[in-house]
Structures are given as C-alpha cells and as structure tokens.
Symmetry: C2
C-alpha cells in the first residue's frame, strides 16, 4: 500500500519518524532509573524490529475481489495488533504479541467498508475498526476469543477528506478516517476549526474520537466530541444508519448517542457532520499557584460552578508541576479564548474567584498573548506533548509507567484523590517492591465534579512487567470503582477496562446494548470482547456475497 504512511509499532508516532536506536541514551535512562530506585543494574531491551517477530500463519485469505485493498504484510499485521497501552508497548519491547491480526484492509470508500463487513459476516471473521491505533485500553487488540475463523483489522485512514463545509450553519461533513492534523488543515483553509484536540490528536481519527467519546483539550463546555457531532453515518452489518442533520431534536432517544462510545461494536463510522467554529482570536492564559492542593481544587470547583467556562482549567498537582515551577505549589493553568469577543471580563472574574481560595498569580503575564506557550505553563505543556514519545525508552528499562483517568462528584473528590494516591502507592510497592510516584491533574471540569487524570510509575522488570502491570491495573480499577469514580472518562473501555465497566454499568443496560447489537450486528463480528460480549450469534448467515 504505497499511499499508507505506517505507524511506529513499538512506540508513539510514525515509523519513518521513530527515534533511532541510541544505546548510549538507553543506557543513560537505565542508569538514572537504577539510581532512582536503587535497583542495581538495569539492562534495557533494544528497539524491536519487524523481523524479530515470528507471527502465526494467517488463518484467512483476502477475497479475490477485495485483494487490492487487503494486506498480510508482517509489519502491517504487527502494527494493527497493538495499540499504545502499556502492555501493547511492553509486548512490542518483549517481541511477543499475544494476539495477531490475520489481515489488514484499507477501504477506499464506503462501498469497500460495506463489502468487507459483508465478507466478514459471511466468513465468520471478527472485524476490528482501526482509526489511528492510539487506543490505550486494548480497543484494537485482536483478542476476540476462539469463535471466529480469523481477525480482520479495518484501517480507515483512506477515508480522510473534508467533504463539504456549510459556512452558514458552521458545520462540515468529514470522513471518519481523517487524522486530527488533516482535519484541522482542511478547515483552516476556510477559516474554521473543529477545536477538538485530544492528547492523541496527531494519531487519532474523527471516527475513533466519536466511537470512543473522546475528550478534547479544553476544560469545559463544548470540548467532548459528543457535543460536536451534528449527525453521522455508520455502516453496520445490517445496513447503513444515517441520522439527519439537526441542531437539536427531542424525538425519542438520540440515535447518535447510541453510536457515540460504541467502540466499534455496532458499526463503522464512515462520516459525520461536525459543528465547527471560527478560529479563536482572543486568548488569555495565566498560571495560578496554590500552596494547598485541596484549596486549589475548591477554587476549581468555584470556577466550574460560576458558569464562566474557561477553555483551560488544568489543575496540576505539586509533584507534576515541580518540573515547571520548581517548588511545592500546585499549578492551575487558567485560560479563556473566543473567536468573537475579548475575554477580559471572564478572566477578571475568574481571578477574583481563585484569589478567594489563596491562588497566587502575576497579572503581568496576561499582557503576553503567547503566555500559554511560555514560562511555567509552557514548560509543562511541552513536557505534556512529548510524554507519549518518551514512554517507550522507559518501558524498555522495565519502568511501569501508565495513566488512568476518571471523573467523580465534588463531594467525594478529596476522599477519592487520597484513596487513589494511597492505594496506588501501596499496590505499586507490593507488586514491584519499589516506591511509586502518583501524580494528578484535572483534564476537564464540570459544575458537579472534576475529571482527575492520574499518572503513576514504578520500576518493574523487563521480563515480568506485563504481569506486574496487570495486577496494578486490576487494583486501580477496583480503587476507582470503590471510591465512586468512572472506570474511564475519555480513554474508553476497550478490553482493559471491562472489569471496571461491568461493575459500573447497570446490568440491564448491558442487556439492552447486547440486544441492540444483535439487531445491527446479527453475526456478532464487530470488535468482539470490547464493552460487552455478543449474544448468541447467527454465524455466517448474513449478507449477500453477490457484490464481492
């Protein structure tokens, strides 16, 4: 597939852009970790190469009529068998992929998608929709059980066009396989933006965002992809489902809200009308420091309940902020933006509020329009953007480094935060024998609660780190559940969060969702193992092969 730029299978980013092998840098990282953890010498794993993997023989063969869009190339199979979760990267580093997809297809248009779904239903092949492959929860992993003849990964990246812009209604019709940068470039030409910037922005797709209910970079108001969808088209095994473009409608339960968050188990999102905006021109941003973390959280609560809707309201705890502010203060990055009007009145009131809770700030930075890219906030921001790239090198040393995110009501936040930090410290210590580091930041705020995002790390062993991670992951899901949080706020459920999801979701809703899936995917071929198990399936009874 000459037009396909391949992802790096063992880390973040593109394959042709991946960090070169650098034994000296690896050794330096190993030495730092060994010193930090007083662990004795660490021998980092070298960068894996495609030829080091012995892949199982593919169990299925491309249908003749679709052969030109299918591949069984080893590198393609490996790329599509892994997301970007800790175990994904650790498996790559260990040269051992537990489940390998048998074939990858790159559909060119909606008809190809239909044909591939038909073929998969007929052949009892599990089909996994694949956007950017940046899932951190096992959402694209071909662990589908033993009831299928094989697994096909459906890579959507060729459906990557901004098809139409309605400048009057501020909406654009966009294909589901488009990556973040392509999408924004397509809108920028006309002066617009979708203004949805998840951390995975560069390597995730519109369809993936909708299927996983992606959360954007902005802290409040219209930041979730859910609210930006005007209508959508989904190809299901039972046919195409297209909702009508409407700014609002109270006609029954929302069809779109059923497909949002369906994580590939109900259909493949081929295009959507998205609500777009003028590009913001008025921007104001300022870091605010707090000595007391829970008082900082109270300040954020006040901001959230004041209906000011800051675009940025990221509270970073003292440990995580230390690299940027070098002290013992929690840092709130507070910002407002608008395409229409100056935001002084908003910022002034927000600063009054944070001052009430002991927030410290230097008003003079407001004069600097690029303040969010400079100083303490800028340093934190750069580290934030680089974090996904830096991870592979640490994992090659056996460092278990991962994140998880949740949301919880304000009345439970303090207990939640303490419980998570203490609980995670304890489990990491028990599992790895080393002290851990757990930090927290808020990604989003709501009037009724924050979405805290935790990062932890603990030194495991290069051979045992996946099992160690599993123990820690199970404990983190139980902690979050018992403390009243959601098992995921915007990372999705995939396969890794299912134990938490099953405790959280009403069992009757699971049954209703299974029933709905049976109507749309009667053979149960779509992304099996994600969210729910399909009900009894009609194996191979579906679809006509006449077209294929």
């Amino acid at each position: 597939m000459k037009d396909i730029r391949r992802m790096n299978f063992w880390g973040w980013g593109w394959a042709d852009d991946a960090e070169a092998e650098d034994p000296a840098a690896d050794k330096a990282m190993a030495d730092i970790l060994a010193k930090t953890y007083q662990s004795g010498e660490i021998k980092p794993l070298s960068r894996p190469k495609v030829e080091e993997f012995s892949l199982p023989q593919a169990r299925i063969q491309p249908p003749r009529q679709l052969a030109e869009i299918c591949t069984q190339d080893a590198q393609d199979r490996i790329i599509h068998s892994l997301g970007k979760s800790f175990p994904d990267l650790a498996h790559a580093a260990q040269r051992e992929i537990p489940h390998v997809t048998d074939m990858v297809a790159y559909p060119r248009h909606e008809q190809d998608v239909k044909d591939l779904l038909d073929w998969s239903g007929h052949q009892n092949v599990a089909l996994i929709p694949f956007g950017g492959g940046s899932s951190v929860c096992g959402g694209v992993e071909p662990a589908v059980g033993d009831k299928y003849e094989g697994v096909l990964s459906l890579d959507m990246r060729r459906l990557n066009k901004v098809l139409e812009i309605d400048e009057v209604s501020r909406a654009a019709r966009i294909e589901g396989g488009i990556f973040g940068p392509e999408l924004e470039a397509g809108l920028k030409t006309h002066g617009y933006t979708l203004r949805h910037f998840p951390q995975s922005f560069e390597f995730s797709t519109l369809g993936g965002w909708i299927a996983t209910r992606s959360g954007g970079h902005y802290a409040s108001l219209y930041t979730h992809i859910d609210d930006l969808v005007e209508s959508m088209t989904t190809v299901t095994p039972a046919g195409v489902m297209e909702s009508r473009r409407l700014p609002g409608s109270g006609a029954g339960p929302s069809p779109d809200r059923m497909m949002m968050g369906s994580e590939g188990i109900l259909g493949v999102i081929t295009q959507a009308w998205m609500r777009i905006q003028d590009r913001p021109v008025y921007k104001s941003s300022i870091p605010v420091l707090f000595e007391n973390y829970y008082q900082a959280a109270e300040a954020v609560r006040a901001l959230g309940q004041a209906w000011l809707f800051p675009t940025n309201c990221r509270l970073v705890d003292a440990q995580e902020a230390a690299g940027a502010v070098g002290g013992n203060h929690a840092m709130l990055i507070l910002g407002f933006e608008s395409a229409d009007h100056p935001v002084e009145a908003w910022m002034d009131r927000a600063l009054e509020l944070v001052a009430d809770f002991g927030g410290l700030f230097d008003r003079s930075v407001l004069a600097n329009k690029e303040s969010n890219k400079e100083g303490a906030a800028g340093q934190w921001r750069n580290a934030f953007m680089q974090a996904p790239y830096a991870r592979s090198r640490a994992i090659a040393c056996g460092l278990i480094v991962d994140t998880f995110e949740s949301a919880v009501t304000w009345n439970r936040f303090e207990e939640f935060h303490q419980g998570i930090c203490e609980g995670m410290n304890k489990v990491v210590r028990e599992v790895t024998g080393h002290e851990s580091k757990v930090t927290c930041r808020f990604t989003h705020i709501y009037p009724d609660g924050p979405a805290p995002y935790f990062t932890y790390s603990g030194l495991g062993t290069t051979s045992g780190m996946i099992d160690q991670w599993r123990e820690i992951k199970a404990a983190s899901l139980e902690l979050v559940e018992s403390l009243g949080g959601t098992c995921t706020h915007h990372h999705a459920v995939g396969r890794d969060h299912r134990p938490g999801y099953e405790k959280q979701i009403p069992s009757l809703f699971q049954e209703a969702l299974q029933a709905a899936k049976s109507a749309l995917d009667p053979c149960g071929i779509l992304n099996p193992g994600v969210l729910i198990d399909p009900l009894a399936r009609k194996v191979g009874q579906q679809g006509s092969m006449s077209r294929v």
Copy 2:
C-alpha cells in the same frame, strides 16, 4: 384518593381552579370569531361535565393487594385518557373520548411501581406512565391497540419529594413524580434552583421532562433536561436500572441517554440526581426590534455562533409581537443571567452584534431589573403564560388552534420558514375554507440552527374540527420533514408525531430500539403505540405475582 388534587380534564390547570361556566364570555368569543372569519353565527359548545360521558365498562379490576392505590372513578379515568393536545381538548368538548383507560393507580413508592409493572406484565395489561398529563402529542392516550386485556394509567404524582441535596457538587436527588413548582420550592429553601422551566412547568413532572427530553425556557446552553441529569433510576419490567452519579463519563454509550426520550416505553423514571444551581441574581433583559424578519434571524445566528449563551434569545415574528409592540416589527427578547457575576460585558457584546443587523433598542431599559416583566416584553410574556388557559374557550367555538415546533440548520432556515408559513396557510385554507394565521417564534438557539415554534389557527366546525385538525397535522408533519426539520424539538413524539418520526429516524435505529425494548420490557406492556411498535411479545410470561 383524598390526597390527589385533580387536573381539569377539558382544559389547562386544576379542576378546582378551572374557569367557571360563563355563557356571556363564550358568546362574546364566538361573536368575535364569527366576525373575524365572516363565518355566520357560531354556537359554542358548553363546558363538559363528567356525568355527560358514557364510559365503557372497565375491562380489568384492581388486584386485591394494590386496591388501595387503584381507582376506577369516572373522573379519574377521563383525566387519564386525555392529554392537552388539540384533539384531546376537542374530544372533551365533544363529550367523546375515543380510548378510555380502565384503571388509574397512584403508587406511593418504588415498590408500588414494581408491583404494578409485575401485575401488568402478568395480566397482559398495557401500562401508561402518567406525569402531569400535559402531553400535546398523544403521549398518555390509551390508544394501545387490541392486543391487551386493558389499560392502566400509572400516575406518579405521589413520588414528589426532593430527597437529598448535595450542596458541594450542586446536585439533588429528586423523585420522578414531582411537579415543577414543588421541585423549585424544595430547592429554593436551600438557595438553589434546577432552572428548568418548560411552558408546562406547573403541570408537568421531573420524570415526564426526562422521558420526553423537555426543553426549558432558556434559549441556550444548559436548558434541556438532558444536560441537567447526573444519574437516574428507572423501574423497568425486567428490573431496576440505576446509573451512577458521575459528572462525566466516556464509558460506552450513555445509559441515561437511552432512557432520555424513551417516553415511557422502556421504564418508569422513579428518581434522578439532578444538577442544580445557585439562584441567579444578576439579570439583564432588553427587547430588540427589527424591521426585517430574516435579518433578525441573522442577528440571532450571530449571537448563537458568538458563544455568548444568552439565557433568553426569543425572536418573535411581527404578527405574534404585534399585540405587544403594536407595529410591524419582529421582536427579539434578549437576556442574560448569572448567579456569579454581572452580565454587562455579555450584554454589551450582544447588543453590538444585533445592532450590526439593524436591531433597534432602548438601552435605558437595562437599568430596570424587572424589564423582562414589563413593557413590550412583559406583555408578550403574560400572553405567553396565559395562552394554555385561553385555548379551551376558543376550541369550544370550533377554532382549530395549535402549535408545533422544530429545529433546522441555519442554511435551510429561510426556505424552511417560508415553506412552513405558505404550506400551513394553504392547507388550513383548503381544509377549513377560511384564511389562517401562522406565526413563529424561536424557543432555543444553537450555533448550527434555531428551534422555531409555530402557532396556527383556522376556523373549523365544532362537530368536524378533529378530522379537520388531523388533515392539517398530517400536512404539517410532511412539510417539516420535506423542509429538513425535526418532527419535534421538545414536545416529544407520542402517538401524534409518529408519521414524522418514522420518516426522520434511521430504520436501523428503530430496530435497535425495538430490540433494546424487548430486553427491558419483554411483554411489551409499556406505553404501546408511542415511538415504536413492540416486537413480538411474551404475553403474560413475566414477573412473579408472589408479592402481589
């Protein structure tokens, strides 16, 4: 049922508060209409009385164990067989109710609801959840087809308590059968408000709002009940479904969003945690006049796309505004409110925007904090609040007076508005032989389009008005559909909007919804005929009668 204050069955409001018989006023109304329409003499129908109705014998009897919460009293049966749609009121005026509920139950608590659902499933009795009974689309009408042994109306008004307030997270746990004024009174004691004021506020319930995706009075942002729900408890025939209190969650498709808009076909909403707010103290409101209606709409579009989020942004066309402003101008009622901060900056920018589109206003009214209750805006507001009460008198004269609401993207608005006005004028003229009056206001605005609300009237005949209305209603649904609008924006689908709903909704979503219903309501007893038809049902196989 001594604790039950009864509704007026032939008009808006309470039975004990209903307008007294006043033949002179009726005659005056008839004379005015006769003169306006040059129709010759009109003989108004007198106010109907319960004893004038001959009701069919009830087909079911209360189960012994639930007898004390069930009634078959004639007035109760009549009240629960009618909503507040045009045909409902016309049927009452004509002393002819096409479908009469067999029994009414007033559950005291969730266990009663469960028992009644169990009993109904076992006996193959259709069960219609009944909140305030203010449906204007046949949502509570016992037209369930001939496959049931009888119909039970489940009146929820005894579940009417504010159970708990979480002042930190700003949320309250509230029972589903509570009416608007009771709910607000319960919150006001603590300084809070839900700030959800649909036009039916006095005579509708929290559960009804959620089940029908009610739209509040406010024009933008968090005004729909959908966004105010934090979590909810629904009793379904298959068991109780309770979602977790979470400020946000991206874990799969939202369970709550499936129940919102389910209009009683999936379960009975017994309670919900609702997002509440501090009571607003900063208010600013001003009427803005426009000579050109479509330029006024452009001003509203600019406001909607500027992310200012006015609490009021009601554009009333010149015909509808004429009573208040006495001229040839469209009137925009523009307002901002906040519990936290003065709203001058917001209002100033909004007035700049409307001025750009030729909006005329007198800034001095901004100094008057009660300006929204006085002057032109206040006059319009009073007429608006009294409108539901005035309707019965006009209907008794054969005046077909009704409203319908929609939403459409901005790029189609002008064509939509012209098409609706011309089309409705034409069909009313054809059906009634008289000229019609069609007016429009915006109830809600979104960045991608407005929600226009149409009122029409045409003189029918006291004996034939229901058939005449049906012809007009069918035409209005077709017009809305063909011009790209939604069949309902916040009035719900019920039975009356089904032809429009079926054209609008993806057929695969209907199938998925039917399948989900089968999982939650296997006997298909819940509100049959609303939204979708149940799939093949498991008649009488469900539930244990041991408790009953």
